[in-house]
Point group: C2
Chain length 222, copies 2
């Protein structure tokens, strides 16, 4: 298992988060570093999908991961086991990350040689959607057990995301989850969302997700 | 399907939420009205458990439900179908309810003849734990697909709850969820938590949950 640092990110004193997020995005573009902000409910499978993603992309690009959590370092432990560079961000009770906290995390991660940095945001479908982190793109995971009605109940999160991964497709037979209805619910809120059903546990569908991500990283570097 | 109102609860202007929560709790005690604050992640099964609870307890006590959501009235529709009095609270993007918002909801619910009021809080394991709503007791649902490590990652939520319902036990065979490890993780944060495994869908274990709730309502009225 690899080593990782734990960083206590401080609540931002800056009221103008949107402006700071734009600044961070501009700096990332200059450095040709793609930052993905990955969001979901607790337990939707962010860390498992990231582990798969690192396995698939780790040979062709240099990846670093920031695991944000209120407490604990369960996730950074898992990610550092993949060999990718990982740090744990503790938010001190905060329910989301803003652009300044993200910038603090990137500094701690040491991004000089990275192509792709991934921020695993706090597990929460509400607050993280309200704060632009400065990421190049936003993605979220909705897992099958959560239900196909979630886009109706958390519209801002679904609108804020460029890609929506629908995870845990292996348990579709055991849940009353209608994939078509879910797609409709997502597209009604966000017509441009890229919807990718996967099973991070078995690897099914992960090719499409990795393909989307690779394309985004390549476009960002142009 | 029954009728229900939609109430837009306003963000509280009061900084002293703890004092206002205590005041609300005192008023509830005087009125012999028990208020349960039910919390969980999105999709853990709050509304399904409530539907079961109303079916079991509706004959012996008068129940009202406040469905809090950022948007949509999916849940109030489902609850009003049970014949219980239901209202939908819209939080206007807020990720939690505080004591004043809860009091606004109770006013809208019209509690004069009720024995039990239930607040279905916003689906979120972070923010609702930080705000005392003034409820008599707090309960939460952790669903099996979310994983047995959630008490490590959302410690405040697990500490704040008097009862932890572990829902969706019917899918235990399909997930890597260790019930004993989960119990240990919960009790390490909250040694007095009452832990109740249920399957709200099939009704398994719901007797124990309903028994706990009945006991709390009776004790509150003494």
């Amino acid at each position: 298992m690899g080593e990782f640092r734990v960083i206590e990110v401080k609540r931002s004193v800056f009221a103008d988060n949107d402006r700071r997020a734009e600044e961070l995005r501009r700096r990332l573009r200059e450095k040709k570093l793609f930052l993905l902000n990955l969001m979901s409910s607790p337990g939707a499978g962010k860390t498992t999908l990231l582990t798969r993603t690192i396995q698939r992309l780790g040979g062709e690009m240099k990846i670093g991961v920031m695991e944000a959590d209120i407490d604990s370092d369960v996730d950074a432990r898992r990610i550092s086991g993949t060999g990718a560079r990982a740090i744990q961000l503790h938010t001190g009770g905060m329910c989301h990350l803003d652009a300044d906290m993200t910038a603090q995390g990137l500094e701690g991660l040491d991004t000089g040689d990275l192509d792709l940095a991934i921020l695993e945001n706090v597990g929460n479908l509400v607050c993280p959607a309200e704060f632009d982190t400065g990421a190049s793109k936003n993605a979220m995971i909705l897992s099958v057990p959560e239900g196909d009605d979630k886009p109706l109940k958390y519209p801002l999160m679904f609108s804020a995301c460029d890609a929506v991964v629908i995870n845990k497709t292996d348990v579709l037979p055991y849940f009353d989850f209608d994939m078509d209805r879910c797609r409709e619910n997502i597209l009604a809120r966000n017509p441009r969302a890229r919807i990718i059903p996967v099973c991070a546990k078995t690897g099914e569908g992960v090719d499409e997700w990795v393909g989307w991500l690779r394309e985004q990283v390549e476009m960002w570097k142009r």
